[in-house]
């Protein structure tokens, strides 16, 4: 399979700290790739480098063959990145449906003057409702973010990213803060989306869900890549077990169980 997203030699330094040191991996077309690692491993920094919120000092990022590492965030998004952030950031003054509709109107917001020329939001509202239904929160369409619990807001965030019709969906800890049932449901939704053709990069702490749904794992530790491949094989690697499970003792039981 061709790599839809191809990352090579990405290094990010904050002051004297190496947040990412020469990290590279490929996300094949149609993959559901889990990007994992202990706290501070550089997962979110990698995500931010891909979306352009952080400028790497070195490295190359190809999306569908096009170099995007020097483009501003909005251009990368328009080339096919969809992003759901770790900390939910809904637009507070808009309802859940309006939040998603704004993203769904990406073709209309591409140019300010074209955006001024059109006012109809019917098609985008319709699409927003479909997507909210898809992530299982159709009932929250007309609610304001302040009225919704975290589990709902996480899914608004995912629906908003989906509304961009992304080639690659980047999900940064979409399951964090959700209870077991909610997490399993949202993980199942991600699997469904992936089956329907969306390539997904899932950054997650919830190892049992990652092991359950991902078919490919990339493991980071201290800004370096220490594992890349089939989940069972990667998790059996002593170096990964050491770094990952040594740093998060309480996760070891779950991981071992799921990998077995």
């Amino acid at each position: 399979m061709d790599a839809l997203l191809s990352i090579t030699g990405v290094s990010v330094r904050f002051g004297g700290v190496n947040a990412l040191a020469d990290v590279g991996f490929d996300v094949p077309q149609g993959a559901l790739l889990g990007l994992i690692g202990p706290n501070g491993a550089g997962k979110t920094t990698m995500m931010r480098a891909v979306t352009g919120m952080v400028r790497p000092q070195a490295g190359s990022i190809l999306l569908d063959g096009a170099e995007i590492s020097r483009l501003p965030t909005h251009r990368r998004v328009r080339l096919g990145l969809g992003l759901s952030q770790q900390i939910v950031r809904p637009f507070a003054g808009m309802t859940a449906a309006e939040n998603v509709a704004l993203a769904a109107g990406y073709a209309k917001t591409a140019d300010p003057l074209r955006a001024l020329a059109t006012a109809s939001r019917d098609a985008e509202r319709e699409r927003a409702r479909t997507l909210l239904d898809l992530v299982g929160i159709a009932d929250a369409a007309d609610a304001l973010p302040a009225e919704l619990p975290l589990g709902y807001l996480k899914r608004v965030e995912v629906a908003r990213a989906l509304a961009l019709d992304p080639k690659v969906l980047l999900l940064d800890e979409p399951l964090a803060g959700l209870n077991t049932g909610e997490a399993a449901r949202l993980a199942d939704t991600v699997v469904d989306l992936n089956r329907q053709g969306t390539t997904v990069v899932l950054i997650e702490h919830n190892l049992s869900e990652v092991m359950r749904v991902c078919r490919h794992l990339v493991v980071l530790d201290n800004g370096r890549k220490i594992g890349d491949g089939d989940p069972a094989v990667v998790m059996a690697d002593p170096a990964v077990r050491d770094a990952y499970l040594g740093a998060a003792k309480e996760g070891s039981g779950k991981a071992g169980h799921a990998a077995a």
Partner: protein, 284 residues
Amino acid sequence: MYEISLLTVMSFSVIFALSLNLITGFCGQISLGHAAFYGIGAYSAALFTTDGGSFWLALPLAMAVAGFFGFIVGFASLRVRHDFLAITTMGVGFLFTGFVRQQDFLGGEEGIAGIPDPGIGQIPYMLLCAALAAAVIAFSLYLKRSWMGHAFDAIATDEDTARTLGIDVARYKLTAFVFGTALAGLAGALFAHYVKFVEVESFDFIESISVLAMVIVGGIGSVWGVVVAAAFLSVLPLLLQVFADFKLLIYGVLLFSVMYFAPGGIDSLMRMLWRRISGRRTAG
């Protein structure tokens, strides 16, 4: 006639306040130097017509010149945010007054007198200003509903997240500055040809704060709230001598009370009142 004067002043004040509402209310970019663009419009229109130019051409010219400078100042909003943008735009305001004071071709401290009358009579001039104000109100209402308004709303709330939805924040901000400052220029041209005399004091920091007060008292981002506040606050000094004498003090008290008791301004007070009334009606 006195009422005609009041309506004329009201009309260009509404345009001026809505022009700032577009930048600060819709797009969330604070400006403490907006009077500079009102001034740029007034001065360029005044120079043009005192030099024999047509009043009708002076209006689009004032918009173009103010919009051009607005475009340049808009770049500041791409570099700095929030309180830093407030200080930067305040600096722009001082730069304008400082520059004008030193320039002989702008009349320096004396200003420009003898601006020719548009020659259409007092009532038609009032009607022209009112029609333009109505057009700016309609434009504001439409813009708010359009996809541009939707994107402005996102940028005003959280510009980093707006970027992750593919919104080119820089171009939207520059557009807001160009539109807003061009409309301020239009208001300035109308003002100049109403008073027929421009001097730098009319466009100083106090004027920038006054127009910001109209937006805040009306309700930041609310079209009708700002229209009511601008219409009311612009003619109060003409109606009541007390208000003219204590303008700054009254603005200060007004700003403080709105921020403290009703941060949503007139707009939110009207909505609250409306809910009470309609609530009582359905209850009864």
